[in-house]
């Protein structure tokens, strides 16, 4: 069993305080939203009923939070126990990401006080993709907390409870792999219904598969990104040998994605749209070029040993994958009656507040809980 330790040190650092200030601004606008309605703080409208709260906080946010999913997939299914030092930090970012996505949904939905209606058997609509996504994400948040529970129990030295949980943890680990597979692809299925309102560069019968692959790609990229940043910020040795190994899988996954993505648009006859020079065409190209760049960097084993190139590749994957999702939900969406949408400042601050809360929770947890692997200074 891998030893882990809390980093220790002061929690109330300058970055922590800056984040707290952003959270406070977000809370102010959130208050306004609950008193005066969603229209009082956002630019969402009847043409663009979903803004960044859904497109970023949920659709991109949960993909960024697929670190736990991606690592669990490789550690438990492909039996690569050697990667287990990456598990806890990955699970933790997933737990925060999903929990905050769940909370931000409550800010976004208009009639939040009866949100539980979805789960009342006589009201549940089993045909609704949204129902499936809500059920899966809701369950997955619980599963993530259960998967992370051993860390908390270790801290509070609750040995008996820990032993009991360990006996059934495999059920949660299995669910932790199944549920994201389901809802991450369903996030793509959701936009099938937008039909002609979504640009043919993004609307496709392959939406579920492409969303699933981007979830895994973004999840791995988040693991690499988080590990490199944590090593530099907390002055710990790089986990390079592990990162370069998991990166070896990426060129294949990216290659598969790009072939499906481009060939799908091509077969439907819309590829010329990409080269017309318009905003949508350029974004389509940029999105795929970023992923292609990551593929080319990671295709060479030597590059995978280079932390700088690993970092660049992970950023390209995070950006390219997130752009694909963002464009599917917002930029490529056009209701066709002259509606326009660009997020308002208060709307942005509520999203910034959520990100800041996530950073604060991360800092607090790694300093006080046994999350990162133990190491002794040489």
């Amino acid at each position: 069993m891998q030893e882990r330790q809390a980093l220790g040190g002061k929690v109330l650092t300058v970055p922590f305080k800056v984040c707290a200030a952003i959270v406070l601004i977000g809370l102010f606008f959130l208050g306004k939203r609950f008193i005066f309605g969603i229209g009082s703080v956002t630019n969402m409208n009847d043409g663009y009923p979903w803004g960044i709260w859904i497109a970023y906080d949920v659709v991109v946010g949960t993909a960024l939070a697929c670190a736990g999913y991606s690592i669990a997939l490789i550690v438990y299914v492909f039996n690569k126990g050697e990667y287990s030092p990456l598990v806890r930090p990955a699970l933790m970012t997933s737990m925060f990401g999903y929990t905050l996505a769940g909370i931000s949904v409550i800010f976004d939905i208009g009639r939040y006080w009866q949100a539980y209606n979805i789960f009342l058997p006589w009201l549940s609509n089993l045909h609704s993709v949204m129902f499936e996504v809500a059920l899966c994400i809701g369950t997955y948040i619980l599963v993530l907390w259960m998967e992370f529970a051993p860390t908390l129990l270790e801290k509070f030295k609750a040995a008996r409870l820990q032993a009991r949980l360990n006996r059934i943890i495999f059920v949660f680990i299995a669910l932790g792999i199944l549920l994201p597979t389901m809802h991450q692809s369903s996030l793509g299925t959701m936009m099938l219904m937008a039909g002609h309102k979504l640009s043919p560069l993004w609307w496709s019968g392959f939406l579920p598969l492409l969303f699933l692959i981007t979830a895994v790609v973004i999840g791995y990229a988040a693991v690499i990104f988080e590990s490199l940043i944590a090593s530099v910020a907390f002055k710990r040795p790089l986990e390079l040998h592990l990162l370069s190994k998991i990166s070896a899988l990426m060129p294949w996954l990216l290659g598969l994605y790009l072939v499906i993505r481009i060939e799908d648009v091509n077969l439907r006859g819309y590829l010329p749209l990409a080269f017309e020079g318009g905003l949508l065409g350029n974004l389509f190209l940029l999105e795929n070029l970023l992923l292609l760049a990551a593929l080319l960097i990671l295709a060479y084993p030597n590059n995978r040993q280079n932390p700088r190139l690993l970092f660049i590749a992970s950023c390209a994957m995070l950006l390219g994958g997130s752009m694909y999702r963002f464009n599917t939900y917002i930029v490529g969406f056009d209701p066709g009656t002259g509606w326009r949408y660009f997020p308002s400042v208060p709307e942005l601050f509520i999203t910034f507040g959520i990100i800041a809360a996530e950073v604060m929770a991360y800092l607090w947890f790694v300093k006080t809980l046994p999350v990162l692997p133990k190491f002794t200074k040489a």
Binding site: D46, R111, M193
Partner: protein, 316 residues
């Protein structure tokens, strides 16, 4: 090096399985939906509409909707620019290019819920707040079930459902074909009020044949046109317009219970050109192919539990 190759093979195998599970998205479609047994709807004939907007007024009266002022000028009447949370029904005027003597340079169109046979909003709604009546096919909204997620707005191909953006307790707002009047044996307020029969209420089957009768008329000749209710008694004589030979709503996205006739191309009236299969049927088909009634996910879960349990035991 050996380990890496094995990793890759596994990766490829897993991806292959995913693609196979996905099948061919183009073929995954479920069957179209039939007309409900007692389906009622509206036939709107753009060539008969004089743009008087009495239907807008009648709609607001019947549904208790507030007036809406959008212009900064002092006006005595409400002047909605489009459907909104305050306006369920609207007459719009579109300028049309063409010879003045045939189309006079413009045409009217009436917009409200189409009451689709396979409504995207109903399929999208996670809490069954939007339902299609199995008897008359009217799509109604229940605020007690609605969670305000607005997926119906994203899904509706006609941009019909509207949301109360400025309310702390918002609702979705849309035309419900005056369902509250139908239960009392009445008809939709807009049709009852229409002075020329441009909005005609009735059973959808009858409205379809009426639309076909009109398309076969000799333009410029006088014919009888039923007013308000196709099953009613009031009839007016009008010159037949030069109809476009297409009933909008008969086949679009699997069909709807509101039908349109016009003398100008529908695209110039702001009605999108749509395929005959609904996006709902496609999305449902793909979901079904992936999940096969939750059988696949359960099988996968069983497999995962087996693999992980084995690995955990070996570790100990």
């Amino acid at each position: 090096m050996k380990i890496r190759r094995r990793d890759l093979l596994k990766g490829i195998a897993a991806s292959g399985l995913l693609v196979a599970a996905e099948q061919s998205p183009a073929q995954a479609k479920r069957a179209r939906k039939d007309l409900p047994p007692n389906a009622v709807g509206i036939l709107y004939d753009s060539t008969l509409c004089i743009g008087c907007k009495v239907c807008e007024y009648a709609c607001k009266q019947a549904n208790n909707m507030p007036v809406e002022h959008t212009s900064s000028k002092e006006v005595m009447w409400d002047d909605p620019q489009d459907l909104s949370a305050k306006t369920l029904n609207i007459i719009k005027r579109y300028g049309v290019e063409g010879p003045k003597d045939t189309v006079e340079g413009f045409a009217f169109i009436k917009r409200h819920c189409m009451h689709c046979l396979d409504p995207a909003c109903v399929s999208a709604c996670p809490a069954s707040a939007l339902v299609k009546n199995p008897e008359n096919g009217v799509v109604t909204y229940n605020k007690k079930a609605c969670i305000g997620c607005r997926y119906c707005q994203v899904a509706c191909p006609y941009n019909i459902p509207k949301f109360e953006w400025d309310s702390p307790f918002p609702e979705i707002v849309k035309c419900q074909l005056c369902a509250h009047l139908l239960v009392k044996g009445g008809i939709s307020a807009c049709c009852a009020a229409c002075p020329t029969g441009a909005s005609l209420f009735g059973p959808v089957e009858k409205l379809r044949s009426e639309a076909k009768r009109r398309m076969a008329m000799e333009p410029g000749e006088y014919y009888d046109f039923p007013v308000a209710n196709i099953d009613g008694t009031e009839v007016q004589q009008h010159r037949a317009g030069a109809y476009v030979q297409h009933i909008y709503g008969e086949r679009e996205l699997g069909g709807s219970q509101v039908l349109y006739l016009a003398g100008v191309p529908f695209a110039s009236l702001g009605l999108p050109e749509l395929p005959e299969d609904s996006y709902v049927a496609l999305a449902d088909g793909i979901q079904y192919a992936i999940y096969k009634g939750m059988v696949y996910p359960l099988v996968v879960l069983g497999g995962l539990i087996y693999i992980i349990r084995n690995r955990e035991e070996k570790k100990e």
